[in-house]
């Protein structure tokens, strides 16, 4: 065996080790709260000294936590549905009307702005902007802010799907066959992009459900979200906070895997169509 082969093997082992350690680190960070959710006593040991399900029992019996879960679901659902409707109409408009490159370029820029501005700045700006209006102090202000932060993900997701299915051609084909806007939307477009819609919905739901920075500033007292509940319980009882975190993780992981699965299915379906 030459020295090159030996070096190559050592390098391979180092790379595998680095990958394994990275995965382990991410898993520990992500899933240690899940283990903590089942702990009654856990101080100086690798795993909890006393295991229990009482943390979950408490979560589902405490009115504040239940209300925070309901608020998070309401805000995340309203955000996801509203952003889908908004960006579906935008994408449809882009393809339905004569193609205007500047609209695409403008949207490409506008939707990435939330990625560049820190969430706390966005929240404070929205607070100042909407405080004197009717939606100041309602859960809608949080929905508006969440629609802004999910925009890049929803827009990009829907835009990619529209490109995969060649939405422009489908719309034009439908119109050339005598169909108007609504027939085209309901009979041609929606049946072909429901994978993308579902993916964008789940992604936006997970982002909205897991937000703390914006919710902490904008959520009115009767709509405190689950992440605020986590924050508050982290000072009182870390294991109950861990149980709530594990619910958030469950929602996010389920949404992420669903998005990945749906996207893979959609791409497989449409690449077969266009092959």
């Amino acid at each position: 065996m030459s020295i090159i082969d030996v070096l190559y093997r050592i390098l391979k082992v180092v790379i595998y080790l680095a990958i394994a350690l990275t995965l382990l680190y991410i898993s520990l960070l992500s899933f240690s709260p899940v283990i903590g959710a089942f702990a009654l006593k856990w101080h100086y040991t690798l795993l909890p000294e006393v295991w229990t399900l009482d943390n979950f029992k408490f979560i589902f019996s405490d009115p504040f936590i239940i209300r925070s879960l309901e608020s998070s679901v309401l805000v995340a659902f309203t955000t996801s549905l509203s952003s889908l409707v908004i960006y579906l109409l935008v994408i449809l408009f882009m393809h339905y009307k004569e193609q205007r490159g500047w609209i695409n370029t403008l949207f490409e820029i506008v939707v990435i702005i939330p990625l560049m501005i820190p969430a706390i700045l966005l929240a404070l700006s929205m607070y100042e902007l909407y405080r004197p209006t009717a939606i100041g102090g309602t859960f809608l202000i949080l929905v508006f802010a969440h629609i802004t932060i999910v925009s890049p993900y929803v827009y990009r997701n829907l835009y990619s799907v529209s490109k995969i299915i060649d939405m422009k051609s489908l719309i034009e084909a439908s119109r050339s066959l005598g169909a108007g806007l609504f027939t085209t939307l309901f009979k041609v477009i929606l049946p072909n992009i429901y994978h993308g819609l579902l993916g964008a919905f789940l992604l936006s739901f997970a982002i909205s459900f897991g937000d703390f920075e914006i919710a902490n500033i904008l959520a009115p007292w009767q709509y405190r979200t689950v992440t605020i509940a986590i924050f508050q319980y982290s000072f009182k009882n870390i294991w109950i906070a861990s149980a709530i975190i594990s619910i958030v993780i469950f929602v996010s992981v389920t949404a992420t895997f669903s998005v990945a699965y749906i996207s893979r299915k959609a791409i497989a379906k449409y690449t077969e169509v266009t092959r």
Binding site: E98, D166, S176, A179, V273
Partner: protein, 354 residues
């Protein structure tokens, strides 16, 4: 009667003039082709007729009716896209039935009409398949059937054969021509492929940089290209510079009296001779020398390229290179570097002004 009439349409995208003052009319039942290289404005013109693009100026008439303000769904058109744009979630039957369902026709009528279209396009037995389960040729026929299902006044086809491989393209081309003859539908066809245009069309408009530069029947267009650009585009190979000097025309380095040729333009810039009209011989026949029908040159054979039944022979004449196309079995008599006589009928010399 006019099927389609386009009057002075212009369309700009930003600073780019895609279509520049284009006018033409297509008779009812005519097969009319817009032919040109990529980016010449042919597809934009078709899309303006369909209503997918709005012209900056000009008018579009379909069946004698001004349709500028009508959206595509209100124009009586059938459009076949380059990528077919079949609805992936619908079966062949439902794709074809789509325009009839929009019109809310009865189920019996829909079944009857879809059946007749499936027969016409030879798609029987495929009605329950999805587009992804069809070959390119079958998808193309479904797209045609779907476009015809709306009973359009005009059928618009945007390079519908370009995604098919060569053999299937030839087959579908014939089917398309037969279909148009059978249905008698006014057709506007867009292509960059000369063979397709010449074999299918009643008339062809050749476009370049947004303008129509020639419009004629295929045979006239092919026989008499008016410019060097058109000749090159129509794959004429022997295009050489020429001029008129003191009542004489210069052809391949030799001068001839103008009156020996039919209609030589004074502003002549080039001449062209089709390779199949250039004859070669090792010894010149007495009859040809005496005939006033021919012009004769002496050249040297430089190269030959085999193309199956035919072979191209490259000959230099007084510094000019010309190509002759002869049957392959004859080409074996000629060796590289040999002197050959080249003779061409005077009427096969085409004079080009630009």
């Amino acid at each position: 009667m006019e099927g389609v009439k386009v009057v002075n349409i212009t369309k700009k995208f930003g600073n780019v003039v895609a279509v520049n003052s284009v006018s033409f009319s297509v008779e009812k039942g005519e097969f009319f082709t817009l032919l040109g290289p990529s980016g010449c404005g042919k597809t934009t013109t078709l899309r303006i007729i369909a209503g997918f693009e709005r012209p900056d100026t000009g008018e579009v008439y379909i069946g004698g009716k001004l349709v500028n303000e009508y959206p595509p769904e209100k124009r009586k058109i059938g459009f076949v896209f380059q990528n077919y744009a079949l609805f992936p979630h619908l079966t062949v039957f439902e794709n074809i039935a789509f325009p009839m369902r929009i019109k809310r026709m009865s189920e019996d009528k829909i079944r009857e009409k879809v059946k007749s279209l499936l027969e016409l396009l030879k798609l029987e037995g495929l009605e329950n398949r999805y587009p992804r389960q069809l070959s390119g040729g079958q998808q193309q026929r479904v797209a045609l059937a779907r476009a015809l299902a709306r009973d359009p006044e005009v059928l618009l086809l945007d390079e519908p054969l370009s995604n098919l491989d060569a053999l299937i393209r030839m087959e579908v081309r014939r089917e398309l021509k037969n279909l148009q003859r059978k249905t008698g539908i006014t057709t506007v066809y867009v292509t960059h492929d000369q063979d397709e245009a010449f074999s299918l069309s009643d008339r062809i408009a050749v476009m370049d940089r947004g303008r129509i530069i020639a419009l004629d029947a295929p045979s006239n267009l092919f026989e008499n290209p008016k410019s060097a650009w058109l000749a090159r585009f129509l794959r004429y190979k022997n295009i050489v510079e020429s001029r008129v000097v003191n009542g004489e025309v210069e052809i391949l380095g030799r001068r001839f009296r103008i009156d020996e040729f039919p209609s030589v333009p004074r502003d002549l810039k080039f001449i062209t001779i089709r390779p199949d009209a250039i004859h070669i011989s090792k010894q010149i026949d007495e009859g040809i020398i005496k005939s006033s029908e021919y012009v004769i040159f002496k050249g040297k054979m430089r190269d030959k390229l085999f193309y199956g039944h035919f072979t191209e022979i490259y000959i230099t004449i007084d510094g000019y290179e010309v190509i002759s196309m002869i049957p392959t079995e004859e080409s074996e008599y000629y060796k590289l570097g040999e002197d050959v006589y080249v003779y061409v009928k005077k009427r096969d010399v085409k004079f080009l002004v630009a």
